[in-house]
Amino acid sequence: MGSIFAIARNSWKEVYRKKDFYVFFILLIIFLLVLLNETFFDVPGISRFLKDVGFSLLWLFSLIIAVTFSARQIPMEISSHTIQPLLAKPVSRWQVLSGKFWGSTLAAIFSFSVFFIIFVLIARLKGEGVERMLIFQSYLFGLLFLSLVCAVSIFLSTFLTISANVTISILLYFFMSWFGEYLRAQILFPQKILAFFYNLTYQILPHYEFYDLRMRMVHGWEPLPLWVVSSVFLYTLIYVSFILMLGYLKIRKKTL
């Protein structure tokens, strides 16, 4: 564990010594401050609007940080040759992959946490806050979502270039966000010829749509029951372990 933690800490340092995070941080603050204005767009009930747009932005910015950061971890190690002295130490390839995953995930979680705190504070300032349990569930689902995003990007980085990986990871997110429900409907009410195809697609692709509780927050719906939260947690754990194992199999014998 010591080696995995050392690699993760190294990756983590990259985040706060680079400018990416600060750019998104300032952008989010600007957007939220603009939304604080009561007469913005002349929309009554601006509080809901603020929650909707604000949460979408923090989700999107965290996604971009998670994808761009995790996608370059392994390819940059290889292209800059830093992987060679690293693997010449008593460190296995599995430890490098795990360290990179944890480093990326912690970096993304750190960014998400900062964004989330600002969002909650500003939502409360507008008077119509969010129920505490729902805040907790949204935060927890955000952490799970980012760990899944990082695991998928780390896996894709074992055989794709950085730009291809970022593009596919972002497209995958939007595809699942928009068509996840459609895929589920196709499985529940199968059509003969395409049933197998839909089923396979549904099982393989990561279900990013599970994690977004924005609508619940905006409309003040009930928090999720415990069994749903537990199921999503378990799904994330299994999917992340499986996809990282696939990534390891890909780099296990790779020439470096």
Binding site: H81, P85, A88, P90
Partner: protein
């Protein structure tokens, strides 16, 4: 006692439309406490052989043993220090942070890592730059960092890939003296180089590699005597490579 490096019939083929044998049936043993110079022109297979020794690439056939263990075994790398040909490290770290991270991999305690970091950075005259981000470093400074990171675990075997490449004359002499000093401390040193004059000054034995195969292997003085008295290593090397 297991030899630091024992290679038997090592073959590495780079696949592609035109597969190329980068290393061809290499047999080599490195003895404890010696300085071994691994020579050859560009593309001879030196770096490929070193990568195979370190487990960075998987050979198509043959066996490699590091202190009696296979390269893929993490424990085999406990007693090794490796300085790569291309010295690039994480730009967003300082040398102190880099050495701390690498020291952790060897399960060294914090106090020992700090002590070695101080000593090693002083050895290469980088004490003042210990807390400066490496993005500000020159090539020579990176080369020094590259050397000290290879020494953080006080290894029994040092593998140096072109250690004097890109160094100014003063740093080159420092590096040469350092190699000699490490030998006097009982370290085994296996290094590849293009700098034949450097090799001549420090090596006990050499191997000359050409097209992935060993053309000559043995004690440096004896090999030079083969071709008549007082031939320089440079002339000897050129004769071998040109096939004369």
């Amino acid at each position: 006692m297991d030899k630091p490096i024992a290679i038997h019939n090592l073959t590495v083929i780079y696949k592609g439309r035109k597969p190329k044998k980068a290393v061809d049936s290499l047999d080599l043993e490195i003895l404890k406490g010696e300085i071994f110079g691994f020579l050859g022109p560009n593309g001879a297979g030196k770096t490929t052989a070193i990568k195979a020794i370190l487990g960075l690439i998987y050979p198509d056939s043959g066996e490699i043993s590091l202190f009696g263990r296979i390269p893929g075994d993490c424990l085999s790398r406990r007693s090794i220090g490796y300085m790569p040909e291309i010295a690039t490290y994480y730009w967003y770290l300082t040398p102190r942070e880099l050495l701390r991270m690498y020291g952790t991999f060897f399960h060294l305690d914090k106090a020992l890592i700090n002590k070695r970091t101080r000593e090693l950075l002083a050895l290469v005259d980088l004490s003042d730059a210990a807390d400066i981000l490496m993005k500000n470093f020159s090539k020579g400074m990176m080369q020094k960092v590259s050397l000290v990171q290879a020494l953080i675990n006080d290894p029994g075997l040092l593998i140096l890939d072109e250690p004097t490449g890109g160094l100014d004359p003063v740093s080159r002499i420092t590096m040469r003296d350092l190699i000699k000093e490490l030998k006097s401390r009982g370290k085994t040193i296996f290094f590849s180089s293009h700098e034949l004059s450097e090799v001549e000054l420090v090596s006990d034995r050499i191997a000359i590699l050409k097209n992935g195969k060993i053309e000559r292997l043995g004690n440096l003085e004896k090999l030079l005597e083969e071709r008549g008295a007082h031939q320089s290593l440079e002339q000897y090397f050129l004769d071998i490579i040109r096939g004369e």
